[in-house]
């Protein structure tokens, strides 16, 4: 049975897409078959991190939701596309990506007409079966909406990303309450964009105390990430960077959590 892991943050710009891409590829590098679905239909973009643009894919999640094609048509094998600083890197497993459309008209259509949220659930299940996935990562829309609620409800584990910021702190409490109402079995908090000046252990302790939920990792704000500017999977470019080591540590925890 594939594990469904949704990545959420109450507010946008927390690094959700970049962390999803990094963690998913780290899991794949352990020989796992991994899928990533961009359900952030209103502000999509994780495909950019994998070097895909609108011209390099013919089908997106939007097409599936409008009944234009089966879900399998929307999944792109990006394993051979994984770039490092000076070439390509082979990973032991597989990475499949289901992008959402970045065309204004397609996004507007979602807002205008809505779609059958039940189709998403069917699509996730079909995808995991047809691609024989070990893990399915869902990059969700920030805050709460119908598809995010569904993703949370069917997740085996949920990763919530927050910055050490008061608005993020308050919003995360909302997400946690909802996740608990939806019976999510496993919840992990990740702190991202922690200022270098902040003491790591103090921030982790503060967050854990506040929510009573384990912090699975803390990532500092760093210039290399800003420079990469979502043009690649960070840890492939900077394998020795502390950010990258933390990515692998989180991937290990998620894999360990799913094995018992």
């Amino acid at each position: 049975m594939a594990q469904i892991i949704s990545i959420h943050s109450f507010r946008g710009g927390t690094g959700k897409s970049n962390l999803t891409a990094n963690i998913a590829v780290a899991v794949a590098s352990q020989g796992k078959r991994v899928g990533i679905v961009d359900t952030d239909i209103q502000s999509p973009g994780i495909h950019v991190i994998f070097g895909l643009d609108e011209d390099s894919f013919t089908h997106s999640l939007n097409d599936y939701l409008w009944g234009r094609c089966g879900i399998e048509k929307t999944a792109y094998d990006v394993t051979a596309e994984l770039k490092t600083a000076d070439g390509y890197r082979e990973v032991a497993g597989k990475v499949f990506l289901v992008p959402a459309s970045l065309k204004a008209g397609e996004i507007a259509r979602v807002l205008r007409e809505g779609f059958d949220v039940g189709l998403l659930n069917d699509g996730f299940q079909e995808l995991t079966e047809q691609l024989d996935l070990d893990y399915l990562f869902i990059d969700t829309h920030p805050g709460l909406n119908e598809e995010t609620l569904l993703s949370i409800a069917i997740s085996d584990a949920m990763v919530i990303i927050l910055r050490p910021d008061r608005q993020d702190f308050l919003g995360t409490a909302v997400t946690l309450e909802v996740a608990q109402r939806l019976d999510v079995p496993e919840i992990m908090l990740l702190v991202n964009k922690s200022p270098q000046a902040f003491d790591r252990e103090a921030v982790i302790e503060q967050v854990q105390m506040r929510y009573g939920v384990a912090v699975g990792g803390l990532f500092q704000e760093n210039d290399e990430m800003l420079q990469l500017a979502s043009s690649g999977v960070f840890w492939l470019h900077y394998p020795e960077h502390p950010f990258s080591q933390e990515v692998h540590a989180v991937a290990q925890q998620l894999m360990a959590a799913s094995s018992h």
Binding site: D122, L149, I154
Partner: protein, 105 residues
């Protein structure tokens, strides 16, 4: 007990209800956890639902019937064996003047 008010199901008037994921959040614990479980299963037989609830099939059928009437669950009786399935369907579109939408297409 602030929670009691906050999560009280808003009253609706008229028509057969269509339910969304958001409505699910307002259900009481037992019903909510049953649908959460059903969402993960995608479909389940009465026997499976009764086992999950740790209730007799008669009791479970009553809970599920109530959820069908509230519009949260559907009964697929053309399947063999028949199955229950969550019915949390459309993400609602937004009402905006057509001119704005047309400009975006």
């Amino acid at each position: 007990m602030a929670e009691c008010n906050e999560w009280q199901m808003p009253q609706r008037t008229g028509g057969s209800p269509t339910r969304t994921m958001a409505d699910l959040l307002f259900l009481p614990d037992l019903e909510r956890s049953l649908i959460n479980w059903l969402l993960r299963q995608q479909t389940a037989t009465l026997a499976e639902a009764a086992a999950y609830l740790n209730q007799s099939e008669i009791e479970a059928a009553a809970v599920l019937q109530d959820l069908i009437e509230q519009g949260f669950v559907q009964w697929l009786d053309q399947l063999d064996p028949p199955q229950y399935q969550p019915k949390l369907q459309r993400r609602k579109g937004r009402n905006m003047p057509t001119k704005i939408w047309d400009a975006l297409e």
